[in-house]
């Protein structure tokens, strides 16, 4: 929700790269979200997120169930008809899950977001099912792993520095600007 504004202030351009967390977590030995694997730490993480959202005046409702399947949303974000509005599309997917408690794997939820962006729903879903888009997402996920990414959001600078999490956003942008 914050990256576009924070980056623009320092004249930094943002490139959004959707990838799947599932395979990344699996390769680290996590069969579920860290929110669920360690209940005590997970409870803290939800509370932390609630406080952070309050601080930034961002609405937040804890999604249930969690995590959700983001495969369809990630593929859609990579479709040619969506790519010009990838940031806006991605933010709406997060809002659907983290504000409106919607199921982001459902074509209804995703179709609604596409419509709100005036993107042709049928064309987008057709592109999302194409081998090219499926490969693009697989490649993005492999690239994330090559970059030693282990969570989201992660920020990679042009010179390869990795920053993880909302609380490192300003630092990542400052790194790019320096």
């Amino acid at each position: 929700m914050r990256i576009e504004e924070v980056a623009a202030k320092k004249d930094i351009k943002v490139q959004w790269n959707p990838f799947l967390l599932g395979p990344v977590f699996k390769s680290l030995g996590w069969e579920d979200s860290p929110f669920n694997i360690y209940p005590i730490k997970g409870a803290y993480m939800w509370r932390d997120m609630e406080r952070i959202c309050q601080q930034y005046k961002l609405p937040f409702t804890r999604p249930a169930p969690f995590p959700q399947n983001g495969l369809a949303a990630a593929r859609l974000a990579l479709c040619p008809v969506v790519s010009d509005q990838r940031a806006e599309f991605s933010k709406q997917v997060y809002e659907a899950q983290f504000i409106h408690q919607q199921d982001i794997s459902s074509p209804k939820t995703l179709g609604h977001i596409l419509n709100s962006l005036k993107i042709d729903e049928d064309e987008a879903f057709a592109q999302a099912a194409s081998p090219a888009v499926k490969t693009a997402l697989r490649t993005n996920t492999e690239t994330a792993q090559k970059r030693q990414i282990f969570g989201a959001p992660s920020f990679v600078t042009p010179d390869g520095e990795l920053f993880w999490g909302n609380d490192r956003l300003e630092q990542a942008v400052a790194w790019c600007a320096s």
Copy 2:
């Protein structure tokens, strides 16, 4: 290194409570430091710490081996002859490990710190071996677990809010001040 100054600015009093991370980690299923259990995430965490220390102009050298045994240091911090200088003693233990690559389980390292604070070394080591101090550390560790603490540093406000990590320090202090 930062808490005394950040808290003083908002007129917040800090009470240092040493506890053992080992039993806390064990109860979460971690048999080693998270830095070591997940090498990819661990490598990021060291790099992150390096960048953060740079940002605050704090010297930092990655300790080896890591983690070290903090039992003797934690017990000393709880001794009556040390308690008035607990903050300063604790900071020097961290500096010994994270700047000077010293072994903080060694009586020589700890004795040197005690001497620099003009604390009678023999008296401190005798108190550290007493049942009262051993029990105090065990109680502190149990209290940490009851408070759902899963890492260090953790900050607990008088009304029971838990904040974890250097990057939540300002938020914790603001919570107390509000």
